[in-house]
Amino acid sequence: MRLSLVLGFLALALPATAQAPLVSTFTLENGLQGVVIEDHRAPVVTHMLWYRVGAADEPPGKSGIAHFFEHLMFKATTNRPDADFSAVVESNGGDDNAFTSQDYTGYYQRVAADRLGLMMAMEADRMRNLVLSPDDMETERAVVLEERALRTESEPGALMSEARSAALFQNHPYGIPVIGWRHEVEALNHADLLAFYQRYYAPNNAVLVVAGDVTPAEVEALARAHYGPLKPSENLPARVRPQEPPQLAERRVIFEDQRVASPYLVRIYLAQNRQSGNQEQAAALSLLADLLGSSGIASELGRNLQLEQEIAVSTGAWYSGDSLDPDEFGLFVVPSQGVSLADAEAAMDEVLANFATEGVDPVQLARVKSTRLANEIYGMDDQFHLAQRYGVALTTGLTLDDVAAWPQVLDAVSAEDIMQAAAEVLQMRRSVTAYLRAPAGENAQ
């Protein structure tokens, strides 16, 4: 009855082409690929340089090197012995930062549009001219270990996340944390870092993304002037990582920590990523995650466990697909006080079983699609995230055509596609179920 109130609003169609961002591309002779996204609302620009290297590309036993290196990129170069990269950005009123994932490492500055050339000059400089002094290495190693202590070791949920990823990936390096295992970060040496830098930090391994108040012609001219002279790397390896064997055994992880006040459970399944020219299953999995758990009590898990049975305080599902290799599809349940993790897991599995029999409600499918498609419009309001969308795609094996096609691929997903993807992916033998709780008999303080 109440649903009929909303049916009248199902008006949202695909964003018209006029509402898509204005994107163009070029490639320099040395292999550097450039993407320009025009956004003329304010005289500012976001300059990003992405490298097609992340934690999953690290040599065995050298975990954390990609992220450690990201920190070192802010240190001295032969042309800038004072390590004043950020200071110069700041003195031009800009902000800068960097990030590392399993598949990419990115550096960016946000600054007035007329400073773009200076940003490129400095970014090009540190691509090839970093000094890598032992003193800088040691100070920054301490910072990285502080970061690991802050983000991981102080957070029982993050420690559990490391444990479950290690269990999910039986062969692929996605099972190793991006920040690295502490003992391996402690042991990284100068030779490791230098070899990593010389191999991966090169124009033929980089993607330039510029978004803002600029024209494609001026960006290309600046890029040619600053990045054009850089020599490409000649020993750039193909990005072939060890792949997963057929997964045959369900795995369980129990992580106990006295700091846990609200226990919860997570189930992750090995799941296909978005692949160039073949994004259909990823689109179906994205919508499956939305239907199961992205909308709180309007989702299957929330409606059943929070609203009807009242045995959970929070539930959810996630899937991104933005990775170079197959990654994960995840579900979580935070049970209400007095409900055991085992009972919550059984109830979660019952929701999945019922979903498998009853199929997709077309009203719900229309709802989650309209949210996804609206995100394309809202996304245009955020220059940084728009730029990020292209950087992620081009460093995880996708093309600009794939990015442009994504809304249509999402829109074309049928209820049957979703059920088929669910049947293929939600298999216990390809899963890890993880519990986070306090040790028995200990009440969290």
Partner: protein, 439 residues
């Protein structure tokens, strides 16, 4: 996919929000036929609209014994209203692809809404139902109450939450600011529907709201929509809250908690937003602990010594008190050294900054001005903040000149006024080696 960022972004500088240069000259004041005023920036490039509603009052008005009631009430606005039960409301919101966020602070509650132009009428109608006709059905109250209690349980083992509570206790004594906006297990458990209805009447009214609108709408279209959205709300009952005496004095309070990394939260009395020295103090704080790699604290703690992943300080001017506060974390072995460095720096900045530091800060702050807000939602929040701070609509046009005009003498006078090592109160939660509480 997890990303790790090199620096942690510091606290938001709400009080000194800024705008892209283009929007700077484009703020108009719109008064609805019913007398509700809003600031508007028209931006037709993208078919969407952002609306920020800031209702003055907030959790500081929670009656004694009902701590957390405003937070629970705001959490329930989207959990059932008018004809919609909780699930139907959420589905209607998503089907319209509208985005509503409801938040509670000590001094205000706020609503951030974004909607597509093509669904604007229906989206605003839905938001009106949430604001004016919340149901507070028992089943929904219990569900959201469980979420709040679960959050309070997590706070009990979260070093940051533990530090924050200790800091509030040290700062505010008996003032209502001492209370957690999420209440206590006892108070939240006791809240009933009558308390929620009272909180609703206290918090949301048509005469206590500050409004910022940015996006694909004209002034003529906006006026009548404001009346439709808010005209049914009542007038706010009179209230008074005393000004808080900030009681922070020089001390270190180490709270034992088993964690490999200790958290430090620190600060003392700050400057009110209407203090003539506020802008100067903002610049001094930027040099000391601002959100930049070159801040004195970041240089001393991170870049030179590797003692922390990130540190920042900020001015917190609230309606009834003003603070300067900061935070960092450090491993148990490093915390004692980091605290010593912090105290040295706190004393050193009171001695003044250099001409060079001031120039660097001026260049950054003025050059960064157009960059801080690059989306409709951010600009809506910013122009709402301007109104709350009592700044004129042309504030943006003069702000950079005012920063550039600051002299070294003025800055150093205010540095001495702002930073007082004899009052610096430090809370440390963890098991720091070689660091003891000091009174």
């Amino acid at each position: 996919m997890t990303s790790l960022f090199r620096t942690i972004l510091g606290a938001a500088f709400i009080a000194l929000a800024s705008l892209p240069a283009k929007a700077a000259t484009d703020i108009v004041e719109v008064t609805s036929p019913g007398g509700i005023t809003a600031w508007l920036v028209e931006e037709h490039a993208i078919p969407m609209l952002a609306i920020e509603l800031n209702f003055r009052g907030g959790a500081v008005l929670d009656p004694v014994g009902q701590e957390g009631v405003t937070t629970l009430m705001m959490g329930l606005l989207e959990e059932g209203a008018g004809e919609y039960d909780a699930s139907a409301f959420l589905q209607a919101t998503e089907t319209l692809a509208a985005r509503f966020r409801f938040n509670t602070g000590q001094d205000s509650v706020n609503v951030s809404a974004q909607m597509l132009t093509e669904n604007r009428t229906e989206s605003l109608a839905l938001l009106r139902v949430a604001l004016t006709q919340p149901r507070f059905d028992a089943v929904d109250v219990e569900r959201v109450r469980r979420q709040m209690l679960s959050g309070l349980d997590s706070d009990a083992t979260d070093p940051d939450a533990i530090a924050f509570e200790a800091f509030r206790n040290a700062a505010y004594g008996q003032h209502p600011y001492v209370r957690n906006t999420d209440g206590t297990r006892e108070s939240v458990t006791a809240l009933d529907q009558a308390a929620l209805r009272d909180a609703h009447a206290r918090a949301l009214s048509r005469d206590n709201v500050v409004i910022g609108v940015v996006g694909d709408i004209t002034a003529e279209e906006l006026g009548p929509l404001l009346d439709e959205l808010l005209g049914d709300l009542p007038l706010q009952p009179a209230f008074s809250v005393p000004r808080a005496d900030v009681l922070l004095t020089a001390a270190i309070n180490v709270i034992d908690f088993p964690t490999p990394q200790a958290v430090a939260l620190f600060g003392h009395q700050g400057l009110s937003r209407d203090d003539p020295d506020y802008l100067t103090a903002f610049v001094v704080n930027h040099i000391f602990g601002g959100r930049v790699v070159t801040s004195r604290l970041n240089q001393a703690l991170r870049e030179e010594r590797g003692l922390t992943y990130g540190v920042g300080t900020s001015l917190s001017p609230m309606d009834y008190a003003a603070l300067i506060t900061g935070r960092f974390s450090s491993t148990s072995d490093s915390m004692a050294e980091a605290i010593a460095v912090l105290r040295d720096e706190w004393a050193r900045i009171a001695d003044g900054v250099t001409e060079d530091e001031l120039n660097v800060a001026k260049t950054y702050l003025t050059g960064n001005y157009p960059l801080q807000f690059d989306s409709n939602g951010e600009i809506a929040r910013a122009i709402t903040g301007f109104q709350i701070a009592g700044l004129p609509r042309d504030y943006i046009e003069t702000r950079n000149e005012n920063v550039m005009a600051l002299t070294l003498d003025e800055v150093n006078r205010v540095a001495k006024r702002l930073f007082d090592p004899s009052r610096l109160n430090i809370i440390v939660v963890g098991q720091p080696v070689g660091l003891e509480s000091q009174r």
